[in-house]
Amino acid sequence: MEWEVVIGLEIHVQLATKSKIFSGSSIAFGAEPNTQASAVDLAMPGMLPVMNEEALRMAVKFGLAIDAEVSERSVFDRKNYFYPDLPKGYQISQLEYPIVKTGQVDIHLEDGTKKTIGVTRAHLEEDAGKSLHEDFHGMSGIDLNRAGTPLLEIVSEPDLRSAKEAVAYLKKIHSIVTYLGISDGDMSQGSMRCDCNVSLRPKGQEEFGTRTEIKNVNSFRFVEKAINTEIERQMYILEDGGSIEQETRLYDADKDETRSMRSKEFANDYRYFPDPDLLPIEIDQAYIEEVRQTLPELPEAKISRFCSDYGLSDTDAGILAASREQADYFEAVATKSGDAKMAANWVMGELAKYLNQNGLEISQCPVSTDALGGLIARIKDNTISGKIAKDVFDVMWTEGGEADAIIEAKGLKQVTDTGAIEAIVDEVLANNAAQVEQYRSAEEAKRGKMIGFFVGQTMKASKGKANPQQVNQILKQKLDG
């Protein structure tokens, strides 16, 4: 039977506020255990939550960025369950009245097509602490530093049809939240975590199959692997005539398999109800408009602009616009160099290669946009060849400095003086009399290929500095002349 895959994602994004959503504790990563857990975060008796205005603003920004309706009235609820990393015995979340209602984002697929993915809702909630399973006399240790960190939970429609689409969607959400500056999006530190709902149905069937939820997958690569592994598992069961049990599963990256979480005595019954310690959040259109004014250019807009303004392909624009830093870097280089296409090729080519080899992010790049732009400008004005430019770039990367200074210091300036080039050409022709003879006796049609030998020799003799177009021209004159 042919199966259709149905996937929906619940993405938890840690918001990049300074303090927690309901207390004045820092949310900085990496502090000593429980040193950033205040009386409120520890659920000390009598302690009360007060909402952080910045967390609200960030959630509104996200809602506007995905063309969603932002709720003028939203309500915090208590989600009740006991767990050691949840000090109050309930999580403050939003159920019935989330801050962000239905919206959508576009994803670009490998075949060049675009697909719109629905976002059901996005709501504010607090993060839990962490259970550390190292052995403390047979006990687990609880660190509540993370408890109360603001989260935006973004719930998609079941619109995704493959692991690849799921990853493209996740990456798109990642680029939106990082563009907005509302999260650092660092999946390795848990700033972005993903629950994947996966089900299969016979192709053509409208009704959804039974789904499983894979909890807390924390990298793009694992999302793809976890979903594919789960699809295989479900397909195997269904093909065998079995049925899928609705359950929560964990992805084990080491074994590349998902496994069922220990089944509970009873199904969860979270007993949501409005948190009486908090009041409904009400915002007006003026506030929403004010936030709208602060929105930066978003990935989709940037991609279209890169295509129309710089003549880039959709694919190249998509790659460059994947992160705001990279897009900004590219634009600065394009402006400085005066050649957007060359700037795009350099950023996606040589620069990306160096960053990759050194495991650096573009924000950590040692070569400034001015330096790279200056270098490309020297290719454009024929001061150096593209080949020499790579050598200059290598110097820039390792030693720093501006293109002109490096070209000057290393004597890499392109030779464009016709007399000087003629002298080198003459020497090459003199040293290769046999080849000259061969060339001249050859048919016109074959000469084109044979001239390459002389160009190579001349460039070599000039240590690569001779202007290749001029070399070509002079050689032709002298050989054909």
Binding site: A39, G46, L48, I142
Partner: protein
């Protein structure tokens, strides 16, 4: 012989008739003599009190004293106090010493008040008789076989017996007003949000409200001046401006319209209590007020709605007591589930567990709409009853309780009978309105109280009405013989 009221004590301190240290010692002596029989205090902080009293006398000598400087008070043992055990009358918090201070107790300290200690109460403020305390029941000073009411029973009994000049209480469904009525003192539940809840251990967040318990309406006003005000650390705290509640105590009552809700003067009310209320109404009429019957048609549904909403909120509020970060933890738990279930079963008393279970049930899947949501809808109907009434009246006069105090043990086997004690106090709690309880009669040697309910943030009107009544009568000056 020392004066009894806060206002007179302040005058005496001001005129140097006595020092704060002297009166503090006098109260501490009285506590030593009587606390064994009354069981009002869970913790007495003698040393700190004496030190604070000396510091207060010093301030008075320096001319830098605050509005309650030198006045010995007691705090209900659910206000967190830095360095002093705060038990909520529960085994769960038997050894809990908060490293932080509630806003209410901080404000008292900043005003110069001397804390004598922490008063007994129904465990986690759940109860109407003060029989639900891990530290044993509190006795009514008018008759030691009778309950003092609850949940602020320790505070009420201590004020009535003269073991402190005044005390703090909290009121969720009547926990200030009902014990004030049973012990013959004056107790005010302010408008919801008037007094900060920060550091006040929660029972039901949308209902809990701290308030003063004292001998007179005037004292209540002096205390409210200290307690009231916005707290940025409590989201439900109101920014409504705070008045000087002592300023309008003597206003003329001519033309004041008092409503008598017919639903409060029917079946549930004890006949003798009714007579005391009739006498009180006459006093108001003689002071120029007019009286009219009003209707609050949803009154009867208030107790059922309350006993869904309060336990539902409590079931979540009390989840934090899990034996992990503070409070009681069972011995050698075999796993996490065992840690939770035994720590909580051992730490909480029967009534607390009952309410957690009822609240959990009311919120659980399949019952939420029929119980919790329905209760919240009824809550709106009850509020609307009052809003309509306050369109044309200034205050409501009604009983605080169906009868006078009852005997210890007489209702403790029947939770529903006990809940019905709250019939006249829970409607105002659900609506969030201010209400004051004050004595207006006596029955078989026990005080009988009336209740005045005001419009939102109209505490000064209530205090004015209560004070004028107390200027005409002496019920509030009667003392138990012990």
């Amino acid at each position: 012989m020392l004066p009894e009221s806060v206002s007179e004590l302040l005058k005496g301190l001001e005129s140097k008739s006595f020092s704060s240290e002297e009166i503090t010692r006098a109260y501490l002596d009285k506590i030593k003599q009587q606390n064994d029989s009354l069981n009002c205090f869970i913790t007495v902080t003698e040393e700190q009190a004496l030190e604070a009293a000396k510091a207060s006398d010093q301030r008075r000598a320096n001319g830098t004293s605050g509005p309650l400087d030198g006045i010995p008070v007691a705090h209900k043992d659910l206000f967190c106090t830095t360095g002093t055990t705060t038990t909520c009358a529960s085994r769960m918090l038997e050894n809990f010493i908060p490293p932080y201070e509630s806003t209410v107790t901080r404000k008292f300290a900043e005003a110069g008040a001397i804390s004598l200690g922490k008063t007994n109460m129904d465990e986690f403020a759940m109860g109407s008789s003060n029989e639900n305390s891990y530290y044993g029941p509190v006795k009514n000073p008018w008759n030691l076989e009778y309950v003092p009411g609850g949940s602020s029973g320790g505070s009420a009994s201590a004020v009535a017996a003269g073991l402190c000049a005044a005390a703090t209480g909290t009121d969720t469904g009547g926990s200030i007003r009902q014990p004030a009525a049973f012990c013959g003192i004056t107790g005010l539940k302010p408008t919801y949000g008037r007094v900060s809840r920060l550091g006040m251990i929660a029972f039901a967040s949308s209902l809990d409200q701290g308030g003063p318990m004292a001998r007179t309406a005037e004292d209540t006003a002096i205390l409210l001046n200290v307690m009231a005000g916005h707290d940025p650390k409590d989201s439900t705290s109101s920014t409504h401006p705070v008045e000087d509640y002592t300023a309008s105590l003597n206003q003329d009552l001519s033309g004041t319209r008092i409503g008598l809700p017919k639903e409060y003067f029917s079946g549930n009310l004890n006949a003798d209590t009714g007579k005391s209320l009739e006498a009180a109404i006459k006093v108001y009429e003689s002071l120029g007020a007019t009286v009219e019957e009003i209707s609050l048609p949803h009154t009867e549904l208030s107790v059922p709605a309350y006993y869904v909403i309060a336990p539902a909120e409590a079931s979540a509020n009390l989840s934090r007591f899990d034996g992990v970060r503070y409070g009681h933890r069972c011995d050698s738990p075999k796993d996490l589930e065992d840690l939770y279930r035994r720590s909580r079963a051992e730490g909480f008393g029967a009534e607390v567990q009952r309410r957690i279970l009822v609240g959990t049930y009311a919120l659980s899947a399949g019952y939420f709409d029929a119980y919790y949501r329905q209760a919240q809808k009824i809550r709106r109907l009850i509020k609307e009853d009052f809003v309509r009434a306050f369109d044309h009246i200034d205050a409501i006069l009604c009983p605080t309780t169906p009868g006078a105090a009852f005997k210890i043990g007489s209702k403790s086997d029947d939770p529903v009978q006990m809940y019905l004690e709250d019939i006249f106090t829970v409607p105002t709690s659900l609506a969030g309105l201010p209400a004051i309880a004050l004595p207006c009669g006596e029955l078989d040697g026990l005080p009988v109280g009336m209740q005045l309910i005001g419009n939102y943030f109209n505490e000064s009107k209530l205090l004015n009405l209560a004070h004028r009544f107390q200027s005409e009568t002496d019920w509030h000056q009667r003392r138990p013989q012990i």
